[in-house]
């Protein structure tokens, strides 16, 4: 045999591969994809009315001086129902929240709000996820904090849990 060490090459390569696997497993489980738009202005959009008793939503609603929250939800989304009490809590604390219903129908949204409560000011209907994609959001639910000048300051991915509420309120206050 010309080069005996060559026989160990497969093992060395495998060790390298295994190191990556271990690295992948040890790393904190973080499969959130943060929007590239955090820190940037909200993209322009105008959405039709998403619920019968709420006005429709446009990007201009967010540049009126006061910071607001933008919640992306859907009537077919189970975690969205789970985060409803937390949204109620935020609304009670004085945070104005607007919603975008993703791939939804107005009648379904109405039913969802009747069942789970309605913390929203404006609700827009994004039937084909176009605004959602423009926002850099990769799933439902997601919540954005937008300062009074229409700039995105924070993105919360996944449902809001009870211990997230104080943090979000603090961030909303900082955005003023």
């Amino acid at each position: 045999m010309t080069s005996r060490w060559l026989l160990w090459l497969p093992l060395v390569l495998f060790a390298g591969l295994a190191a990556f696997f271990i690295g992948g497993l040890v790393q904190p489980d973080d499969r959130m994809i943060e929007s590239k738009l955090v820190g940037k202005p909200l993209p322009q959009f105008t959405l039709p009315q998403g619920a019968s008793d709420r006005p429709p939503l446009a990007s201009t609603d967010f540049s009126k001086g006061a910071p607001r929250m933008l919640n992306i939800f859907a009537s077919w989304c189970v975690p969205c129902a789970a985060e409803a009490p937390q949204l109620e809590a935020l609304a009670k604390a004085g945070v104005p929240i607007d919603g975008i219903a993703i791939r939804d129908a107005r009648a379904d949204v109405d039913g969802f709000l009747t069942r789970n409560g309605n913390p929203y000011g404006h609700i827009g209907l994004d039937a084909r996820s176009e605004v959602q994609i423009a926002l850099g959001s990769s799933g439902v639910p997601e919540t954005f904090i937008i300062d009074g000048k229409g700039r995105i300051v924070h993105q919360h991915i996944g449902e809001i849990r009870a211990d997230d509420v104080p943090k979000l309120i603090a961030m909303w206050k900082d955005a003023r």
Binding site: R4, W8, P10, F20, G24, D29, R31, W76, V78
Partner: protein, 645 residues
């Protein structure tokens, strides 16, 4: 009671696996025949016990026993029985139990059927097989017990992912698993041969049927999976380079290489070390694939129960078995004598080219699959899409196809350049003719890869038939027909892929009942849309009358389905198959104005992709039967020659 019986059988099976390892190990180390005598019966008993455990789990699913955690989380009493049955392995624990069961049965097969291998190698192989099984038993019993009880019992189950409620699911994963496990047998053979230093032609002949069988099943599994994704996902594509698809493709690539190199070893006694290496790689890829899918370190459209703890467990098994086998390879392969030599102009050379190309493609797929993981280690998130795979693996696959034209018409050991050139005449002419035809018909309209794909497919089609010329067809061995069929299948499949990407017409329209749409000579009339209910779903179903030109009318029924439990919406595509292609219609969501989104494809000759795939599998099966029958015939002749001597 059934659950406890199953669990008991599983523990006993694990104990028998340990015993099998102990008997083989001690027996070989101390050269004690009395210990080795016990290995085969123990292997059979282990398989039987494991099968009992698996049957128990099937019974629990069929009876919808909601006091068993696994059944409650993965099944539902309203499901049709076929999906209850298939649900047994449509989850992590059940699929792992299926894995060890198949592995045990394969081990019993090796114990009972293998007669030609030297006894020590045979025993070492069974020992290695037991060692692998033992790891999976430990995994099942300590971290994924399929028989765990739920107290109090659930009123009803949580259902099964609706995408998986399809007849395809009933047979797709088990087929792949059978393939993976067949590769584990090849792996055990390689380890056994390394341990006893007997890497030779006899070893290759003993291993070959397992490699062939595994390869046939993997081929069927991948082809069926591809068709399932094609009609179920409703995206019109047939391969998405998704990590889970790659996880099944990588072992297949390694097995294809192994299949060819094991033939060189069996026929010409060359490529000894390389064949052993490939046997290790092939099973390693099965395990790496399982690890990637189950650990959840890669995200995929395939939703499996993801659990880092289980990922760690599989990783440990991976380190022990693959690391151990590769270390053994480093230690022992130097003592394996070099095999026979061959000249540059020979079939062996072409098979080496085949092996190298397949290995490089395997490396590319592995790199593409793992790249997101690697960059994530450095803080970036990326995903690797189909363009990377198509652009890099595509050209290599085409070169591989060219080698496939030349390989079978070359002679073993040495050949003459002039003679080979003469035999290449017809394939070369056909390829030139296709180039000329395509140049006239669609220059500039067809992408370069589909263009070359069609050309090479023609060459392979002719080239694959050449081994049948100038020989007595009735006396040609069956396995030659197998090779011809498999290679022809490659040509057919490549032609289908190329035709699909070169000539597909796609149309996205919004229609309301009464509207008519046109696509590629087809007229689609949207008659009505109406609700329809199934066992555990409701759907909006569209009725479309379609006709091609002035041909006969047919009605298509695409659906937009909603499953209750768990609540999920899916689209059911409607597919009309004609001899020259498929009309593929997907009904999307209803728009605000009462119109419906319709996605219409006309895909010329797309069915060739799967037809070719099944031809490849059938060719492999023919070769397997042919080889085995020849083995029996030769043995029969030998024994009878002794009788008359």
């Amino acid at each position: 009671m059934i659950a406890e019986l199953g669990l008991g059988a599983l523990w006993l099976a694990a104990a028998f696996a340990a015993l099998q390892l102990l008997l083989a190990g001690l027996g070989l180390a101390q050269q004690r025949d009395d210990l080795l005598l016990g290995v085969r019966p123990v292997a059979v008993a282990q398989a039987a016990l494991c099968a009992v455990a698996f049957i128990c789990l099937i019974l629990l699913f069929l009876r919808s026993d909601m006091s068993v955690l696994l059944v409650a989380t993965n099944s539902h009493s309203a499901k049709p029985w076929l999906y209850k049955f298939a649900g047994t392995w449509g989850n992590h624990e059940g699929s792992m139990l299926l894995w060890v069961t198949v592995m045990g049965v394969a081990g019993a097969g090796v114990a009972l059927l293998e007669r030609t291998l030297k006894r020590n190698t045979h025993m070492a192989t069974l020992g290695a097989q037991a060692a692998i099984s033992l790891g999976f038993y430990a995994f099942l019993l300590f971290s994924s017990n399929p028989f765990a009880r739920l107290n109090p019992a659930a009123p009803d189950g949580q259902g099964l992912n609706p995408l998986l409620q399809d007849p395809g699911l009933a047979f797709h994963p088990p087929t792949l698993y059978l393939g993976y496990v067949g590769l584990s047998v090849a792996f055990s053979f390689a380890v056994g041969a390394l341990l006893t230093r007997t890497v030779d032609a006899a070893f290759a002949r003993a291993m070959r049927p397992w490699v062939l069988g595994a390869w046939v099943l993997l081929t069927i599994g991948i082809v069926a999976g591809s068709y399932w994704a094609y009609y179920e996902l409703g995206w019109g594509g047939w391969w998405f380079w998704d990590p889970v698809e790659n996880a099944s493709l990588m072992p297949w690539l390694a097995a294809t290489a192994l299949l060819h190199s094991v033939t060189v070893l069996a026929t010409r006694d060359a490529l000894r070390a390389w064949t052993v290496m490939l046997a290790v790689i092939a099973f390693s890829m099965s395990m790496v694939g399982t690890f990637l899918v189950r650990s959840g370190i890669l995200t995929s459209v395939h939703a499996f129960a993801v659990d880092p703890e289980r990922g760690s467990f599989i990783l440990v098994l991976l380190l022990i078995y693959i690391g151990g086998a590769l270390a053994l390879f480093g230690l022992r392969v130097g003592t394996v004598r070099e095999g026979k030599q061959f000249e540059l102009m020979s079939r062996e050379t072409l098979l080496v080219v085949n092996n190298l190309l397949l290995t490089v493609i395997l490396g590319i797929v592995l790199l593409g699959t793992l790249y997101p993981l690697m960059t994530e280690a450095f803080g970036h998130k990326v995903s690797v899409g189909p363009p990377y795979f198509n652009r890099i693996a595509g050209p290599l696959a085409l070169i591989l196809m060219l080698a496939m034209v030349a390989g079978p018409i070359m002679r073993w050991r040495r050949d003459k350049v002039g003679a080979v050139a003469g035999r290449m005449l017809w394939p070369a002419l056909v390829m030139l003719a296709i180039v000329a035809t395509l140049a006239v018909v669609g220059w500039g309209r067809i992408g370069i890869l589909p263009f070359l794909g069609l050309v090479v497919a023609g060459g392979v089609a002719i080239g694959s038939l050449i081994p049948l010329t100038k020989r007595n067809l009735r006396r040609t061995p069956l396995f030659v027909y197998g090779m011809v069929l498999a290679h022809l299948g490659c040509a057919v499949s490549i032609a289908g892929m190329a035709a699909d990407s070169a000539f597909t017409t796609e149309k996205l329209v919004a229609m309301q009942p009464g509207d008519t749409a046109q696509a590629a000579g087809w007229t689609l009339h949207f008659d009505k849309v109406a609700p329809i209910a199934g066992d555990n779903w409701t759907a909006m179903q569209g009725d479309l009358t379609v006709r091609h030109g002035d041909g006969g009318r047919t009605t298509l029924h695409p659906q937009n389905r909603f499953f209750f439990d768990p609540p999920t919406a899916t689209t059911e595509s409607a597919i009309l198959t004609r001899w020259n292609g498929q009309l593929y219609v997907v009904m999307g969501d209803e728009l605000d104005d009462g119109r419906w989104q319709m996605r219409i494809w006309w895909k010329p000759f797309v069915t060739l992709i799967w037809l070719g795939g099944f031809m490849i599998a059938a060719g492999g099966a023919l070769a397997l039967v042919g080889r085995e029958r020849r083995g029996w015939l030769m043995k029969w002749r030998r024994t009878h020659a002794e009788e008359f001597a």
